[in-house]
Amino acid sequence: MAKLSVTNLLGIKYLNKDDIDLIFKTADHFKQVINRPIKKVPSLRDLTIANLFFENSTRTRLSFELAEKRLSADIINFSAAQSSVKKGETLIDTVNNILSMKVDIVVMRHPHEGAADFLSKHVSAKIVNAGDGAHEHPTQALLDSYSIREKLGSVKGKKVVIIGDILHSRVALSNIYALQLQGAEIKLCGPTTLIPKHITKLGVSYENNLKKALQWCDVANVLRVQHERMDIKYFPSVREYTQLFGINKELLNEIDKDIVIMHPGPINRGVELTSDVADSKQSIILNQVENGVAIRMAVIYLLAEQIKRD
C-alpha cells in the first residue's frame, strides 16, 4: 500500500516518483478540504508540531502553520530573532529543549545547508525541511510541480525554464530534482555569474538568452534576485539585470505561444517580472500559494501516519 519511502522530508533528492505521486494524490483530497465551508479535518488532533524558523520567512511559515491547523495539530512557533540562539545555544540543544515539550514533528528553516539532515540524525522527531540555505526547499518544489500538473495536466514531457539567481536558490535545486523525477525537461537561464559552475552535470541545459529560453519552454519559473544572500556584485546593476533577464508583456507578446508564468515569491516587481506579467492570466503565482497549503498538509499527514500509536 501507499506509504512514503522516507521517514523525514529532507529534500526531493531522497524521494522517488511514487512518493511524489502519493503526495499529489493526497494533496488533491486536501485541496478539496480547504475549499469547504469548514476547512479542517481532525486527523492530527493528538500531535504537536514545532515550526522552527532560524531564518526569516513569511509565506512559507504561514503556509505551514495553516496546513498544520487545517489538520488540527497543536503548533508552537519559534523564530531565531527572539530566541536563545542569539545567546549562543547550539542547534541540537535548542531543538532538544523544544522536543522535551513532547513535540512529534519539526518543520525547520535554517540558513545553513544540511541543517535539516544533521538534525534528523540527532533527534527522534520527524523533520520537514522548510529550506536549508541554498540547498533544498522540497515543499516549494512539490507545490510548483503540483501547480504545473494542475494547469497543464501533467509534468511529464513539459519544458520548464528556471530563470534568475540559480546560485543562491534552494528552490532551483529542489525543482530540478522534482521535475526530473517526473520526466520534465529543464533549462536554466540567468547571468552566468549566478549559474553554479557544474550544474549542467545534473542533466539540465543552460541558455543565456532569455527570449530563446522563453520560446523553448512551456513553463517559466522565475526566481527572485536574492540581494540579501549576495556578498559580492554578481551583475553590474539591477537595471541591467531587468533589461536582460526581466520578463515584461512586450517580450511575452513576441513569443507565439502562451507560456505559464510561476514565481515562488516574494516578487521584486519591476525587476524579474513586471506587474502586468505577474498579474496576467498566464501567471499561476496565486494558485501556487493555495496549492502550497494542500501540499504541506499532504506531506505532514503522510509523515504523521508513520508515528505509530498503540
Binding site: 506509504k3 483530497h29 465551508p37 479542517k40 501516519e305
Partner: protein
C-alpha cells in the same frame, strides 16, 4: 478459508426493493432528502438505490453525494497499513436537509461515527438516518444503530462479511468468509 453465501442475487434484489420502499415511506418525493454513500463500498449500494428509486418508482431529482471519511477516522496511526482516501463529492449544502447515510456493512459503528463528524463540514443537517445492507449484530463499539437494514447477521469476530456488486465484483452476492485456519 470457508466461504458461505448469505444472500444471493435474488434475495439482494428483493431487499433493495424493500429498502427503496421504506425510504419512500419516510421521504416521499425526496425534495428535502440527501442520500450520502460512504466511500468506498457504500457507493455501490447508494447508486443502486438511486437507480431503483428513479427507474422503478419514478422519483426524479434525487440528490446523492459521496462522503470519504479517511481523515475523520479514529484509528489514524493505529493501523499497520495506511488507508487510501477516496473522493468526496457533495456539491450541495446539507443545511436543514434530511440526510441518509448509506453503507454496505455496519460493524463496529466507527465508520459511521467518523461520517457523522465529516458531514458537519458541509453544514448542519436537519436529521441523519442510517441505511445498511448488512447489520452485524452484537459487534458494535458505539451506540449506533441502523434505521433501515437489509439483513441482520450474527457472525463471530474471525468471520468477515463481504458484499459483492455486479458492477465491480461480477455478481450481486453477500458472503460470510471464515478466515479460520482449520
Amino acid at each position: 478459508m470457508a466461504k458461505k453465501t448469505l444472500l444471493n442475487e435474488k434475495e439482494i434484489h428483493i431487499i433493495l426493493h424493500r429498502l427503496a420502499c421504506q425510504l419512500i415511506e419516510n421521504h416521499q418525493d425526496f425534495s428535502d432528502t440527501i442520500l450520502i454513500g460512504i466511500q468506498p463500498r457504500g457507493i455501490y449500494l447508494a447508486n443502486r438505490l438511486v437507480q431503483l428509486l428513479q427507474e422503478e418508482y419514478g422519483i426524479k431529482n434525487i440528490q446523492m453525494g459521496k462522503l470519504d471519511i479517511t481523515f475523520y477516522r479514529d484509528d489514524f496511526r493505529r493501523r499497520n497499513e495506511p488507508l487510501q482516501a477516496s473522493k468526496t463529492e457533495i456539491n450541495f449544502v446539507v443545511d436543514s436537509k434530511n440526510v441518509v447515510f448509506i453503507d454496505d456493512v455496519l460493524f463496529s459503528g466507527r465508520s459511521i461515527r467518523a461520517a457523522l463528524t465529516a458531514i458537519q463540514a458541509f453544514g448542519r443537517p436537519n436529521n441523519i438516518e442510517l441505511l445498511v445492507l448488512i447489520d452485524r449484530r452484537f459487534s458494535r463499539h458505539l451506540p449506533i444503530q441502523p434505521d433501515y437494514l437489509g439483513r441482520q447477521v450474527d457472525v463471530i469476530k474471525d468471520e468477515q462479511v463481504k458484499v459483492g456488486w455486479k458492477e465491480n465484483d461480477k455478481k450481486d452476492v453477500v458472503y460470510i468468509i471464515n478466515s479460520d485456519k482449520n
